[in-house]
């Protein structure tokens, strides 16, 4: 059942402990990484940003909020995850209530091609963000090794 994050989460798609001014900046950074890895198409970052403006992906979790920007599969080449952790939070709107702005410190950009094929990956992400200890460890990680070790195996 457990998905090995190492197989879908490449160190090249991680931006750890970064400083950014806005959610758009974080999305562009992760989008460029995923484009360079050949996982998504050139219009993926724009698709994510457009989607955030109408259907945002911020998740209110209490201490460390997470956003999970993602797009329609049409912008994706192969399943992948882009991961950013922020020194200072950036603002994402809440999925539940787009009027509500959440300070977000962990951004998990999902590149999905098929919902049924990637259900295990999605469930692994959901389990992870419901684990406050793992999330706190990830938020502190400054190297891909530290980030990997934050994910429960």
């Amino acid at each position: 059942m457990a998905v090995d994050f190492r197989s879908i989460l490449s160190p090249q798609a991680m931006c750890l402990g970064i400083s950014a001014q806005s959610s758009d900046e974080v999305i562009r950074l992760l989008g460029e990484r995923l484009i360079a890895l050949g996982k998504v198409k050139a219009d993926y970052p724009d698709a994510l940003i457009a989607r955030e403006s109408t259907m945002p992906t911020g998740l209110p979790l209490g201490t460390i909020n997470v956003a999970v920007p993602h797009s329609d599969p049409v912008h994706v080449v192969a399943p992948a995850i882009g991961l950013a952790t922020l020194k200072e939070p950036v603002s994402f709107a809440s999925m539940d209530d787009p009027e509500e702005k959440l300070p977000v410190r962990v951004v998990i950009a999902l590149a999905l091609t098929d919902k049924d094929a990637q259900i295990e990956m999605l469930q692994a992400v959901a389990r992870f963000i419901q684990n406050p200890g793992a999330l706190a460890a990830l938020a502190k990680a400054r190297t891909p090794e530290e980030a990997f070790s934050a994910f429960p195996t």
Binding site: T57, L59, P60, L61, G62, H70, M95, K115, Q130
Partner: protein, 95 residues
């Protein structure tokens, strides 16, 4: 054997969060002995598809005049309030 209840699960693109929610509801209702059929849709499709559903679960805001019991899907992603919403869904499906 009762006819399975139809649960319409909506999210932004019908590809990521509604998939997580759909599997979680399917599993939890199976444990509680309630057969369900899950349908996934985009938030924009909720109004046209709600008619054929028994209940609606959405991770995004949806209109409050759908005429069907509507539940928040966010607890299935955050874990916060999940058992409460499962109890509420069970009650609505048994009712």
């Amino acid at each position: 054997m009762a006819q399975p209840k139809v649960v319409l699960v909506a999210c932004g693109t019908a590809v990521a969060t509604s998939t997580v929610v759909a599997h979680a509801i399917e599993e939890a209702m199976a444990e509680r002995g309630i057969p369900v059929v899950i349908r996934q849709c985009k938030a924009t499709e909720v109004r046209s598809l709600a008619e054929d559903a028994d209940i609606v679960v959405a991770t995004t805001p949806v209109p409050d005049d759908l005429g069907k019991p509507t539940f928040k899907g966010l607890p299935f992603l955050t874990g916060i309030g999940k058992s409460q919403v499962l109890d509420d869904i069970e009650k609505a499906l048994r009712g």
